[in-house]
């Protein structure tokens, strides 16, 4: 729900994080339906990011600890062009499964953006500045969609985010299907 505040620990990445880094192709074989197999998308989320660029500024921090399935970080802060590459919806899904709720980046690749919104996985917020240079992995953040701000409570700084615009209705509904049902485009539940 876009109207509610999102709080959590930041996980910081650089620019051009592509879908092969978000979920390497070799893991795409697991079923998203099977609750046991599905967890592996969480385990391998962001496992394709080169170590030194994972969890900036220091690097060497995985999103998900080696034997875990979920992350302690719930907000990703990335550089420009987040989610470029393939159309695999497994990418936003894997972040969702790992426990990520929102991503803040100056720009997103469009298929990733669409998938995040239409699938109701994670909320992509566009920031005016490149916050990946400001925020440090582990900082506590608070996103306030009403005020269109993100506050770094660790560093005591606040930044602007862009309004969601025409996708807000889909984000608020929780995905394209929920939106279409609300609008009467498709029958209410199966």
């Amino acid at each position: 729900m876009s109207k509610q505040k999102i709080t959590g620990k930041a996980f910081v990445l650089g620019r051009n994080i592509d879908t092969d880094q978000i979920i390497p192709a070799e893991h795409l074989v697991y079923s998203l339906d099977d609750p046991e197999e599905r967890k592996f998308y969480g385990r391998h989320a962001l496992s394709g990011v080169p170590d030194e660029q994972s969890g900036l500024p220091e690097g060497g921090i995985p999103l998900v600890e080696e034997d875990a399935f979920e992350s302690e970080f719930s907000i990703i802060v990335g550089g420009p062009n987040f989610g470029c590459g393939s159309s695999r919806e497994h990418a936003p899904a894997s972040l969702d499964i790992a426990g990520v709720e929102a991503i803040i980046a100056p720009t997103f690749a469009r298929i990733f953006y669409r998938n995040s919104v239409d699938g109701g996985f994670v909320i992509p917020y566009e920031s005016l500045e490149n916050l990946s240079k400001e925020v440090e992995t582990g900082d506590e953040l608070e996103i306030d969609p009403e005020k269109q701000t993100v506050t770094n409570t660790t560093q005591n700084k606040s930044y602007k985010i862009r309004p969601l615009g025409s996708v807000a209705d889909i984000v608020n509904a929780g995905g394209i299907f929920e939106f279409a049902r609300k609008e009467g485009m498709i029958d209410v539940k199966n």
């Binding site: 092969d20 192709a25 074989v29 469009r110 298929i111 025409s166 394209i176 199966n190």
Partner: protein
């Protein structure tokens, strides 16, 4: 005010007389394509949302082309194909190109035109980012995710934000003999960056386009996604019509950009001044000329994929490879079974292309995506270690072709073949001049 080709198609398919960039519209879909990686999750969302017994909106408009993880022992990958097979049988789908059957094709973006699904003026969505390839035929074609695909399966519609259009004009009346469309698109991506066309259309035109074959045009539109583009388009002409008519009986109505259409920006390129280009690891916009990189040591060469695995790509590679021994392991993977067959029948100086490759020691794979995206560890041509590879594919992100420790240089089939002969990055002009003389 006039409209661009992309705006016109979106207007025609949303029942509006005109549309403007930035507007969101719901469009009717002419073709939905999916494959073995994204098909099963799309099907599962479709069933979940529309019910176990739901039927797809129009079975003639759904095309299923398994191509990604085909020749592997990975049990999960094989299960994916089983799911597609069961769904196609259950829904009685006429356009399913099953693995192991006569109809098996290989890489979806090359199979779609071969089978007549890339019709000018239409709207095509596919669960794969390189769906933009079909824009070479004047179609609106773009990649989507599984949720969107499931939505289309049930409704035949999808929302689209109308993109702004960037125009790329090519001047010059012919392609220089050493230049390939791959060099041109690598140059453009290097110039505008991997996010230079994000949310936008890349429209290719000008006199230089008319001298390009349909396969050349497909190489251009194929890689618009590497610049972040939503779709790429080339205005249809006589070549387009001839290609499409040969492959389908369906009617279609080509549309063209108006002379007074508004563009986000316009770029000019002179074909005669362009040179062989390479994208260095680990980004498609990390450009250099082949000449600048001369001497860079390589372990492997790879010729294949939806970008560089078409018949014309192999003809180009064979021109250079013929009569040479290769210094490094070289993998040849035809995109589709039709191309694989043509490798046996097309000849160069009287010899079938396939023989030229075999004699030079190339390893020949089965039609599929193979190592273009790494894949399961037993995938043909996969980079499993620290190899340095020069490839005709489209992406060189970290780990794209397998191991995170590997490094990939992207180049044209000419450059890849020339580099395979010397074992180092090599400007193909040396060989081409030899061939000409």
């Amino acid at each position: 005010m006039g409209m661009t080709l992309t705006e016109k198609i979106l207007a025609n398919h949303s029942g509006a007389s005109s549309v403007e960039p930035g507007e969101s519209v719901w469009v009717d879909v002419d073709v939905l394509m999916t494959h073995d990686v994204c098909g099963p999750p799309s099907i599962s969302i479709f069933r979940d949302q529309f019910g176990e017994d739901a039927r797809v909106w129009d079975k003639d408009k759904l095309v299923i082309i398994p191509d990604h993880y085909i020749f592997t022992n990975d049990k999960y990958a094989n299960r994916n194909v089983d799911i597609l097979r069961a769904f196609a049988a259950d829904q009685d789908l006429p356009h399913f190109y099953d693995v192991g059957s006569e109809s098996y094709k290989g890489v979806c973006h090359i199979a779609l035109p071969e089978e007549g699904f890339t019709r000018p003026g239409e709207v095509l969505f596919g669960t794969d980012s390189h769906t933009c390839t079909a824009g070479a035929f004047g179609q609106f074609a773009t990649g989507i995710g599984n949720t969107d695909a499931a939505f289309i399966m049930g409704t035949g519609q999808l929302w689209v934000k109308v993109p702004e259009t960037m125009r790329f004009e090519f001047n010059g009346s012919s392609m220089p003999p050493y230049l390939m469309a791959k060099d041109i698109i690598l140059q453009i991506i290097g110039d505008i960056g991997v996010d230079g066309a994000t949310y936008r259309t890349m429209e290719f035109g000008g006199p230089g386009i008319s001298c390009m074959s349909m396969e050349d045009r497909m190489t251009l539109t194929n890689m618009v996604i590497e610049a972040g583009g939503k779709n790429g388009v080339v205005e249809p002409d006589a070549k387009t019509e001839a290609y499409v008519r040969e492959r389908t009986d369906k009617d279609f109505e080509p549309v063209y950009s108006d002379p007074d259409a508004e563009y986000h920006s316009t770029y000019q390129y002179n074909l005669e001044e362009m040179v062989p280009m390479v994208a260095k690891p680990h980004s498609p916009d990390n450009k250099a000329t082949a000449l600048e990189l001369e001497g860079t040591k390589l372990d492997r060469a790879y010729i294949g994929s939806c970008t560089g695995g078409k018949l014309s790509d192999f003809k180009a590679a064979a021109e250079i490879i013929t009569g040479h021994d290769l210094k490094i392991d070289t993998y040849v993977v035809p995109a589709t079974t039709e191309i694989a067959r043509r490798l046996e029948t097309e000849t160069l100086n009287g010899r079938p292309l396939i023989e030229i490759f075999k004699e030079a020691g190339c390893k020949i794979g089965n039609a599929s995506c193979a190592a273009c995206l790494g894949g399961p560890s037993d995938t043909f041509g996969r980079l499993n270690n620290q190899e340095v590879c020069i490839s005709t594919t489209n992406r060189n992100y970290p780990g794209r072709m397998g191991s995170k420790d590997s490094a990939v240089y992207l180049a044209s089939p000419y450059t890849v073949a020339a580099s395979a002969v010397t074992g180092k990055v090599t400007d193909p002009r040396v060989f081409i001049q030899e061939t000409v003389i």
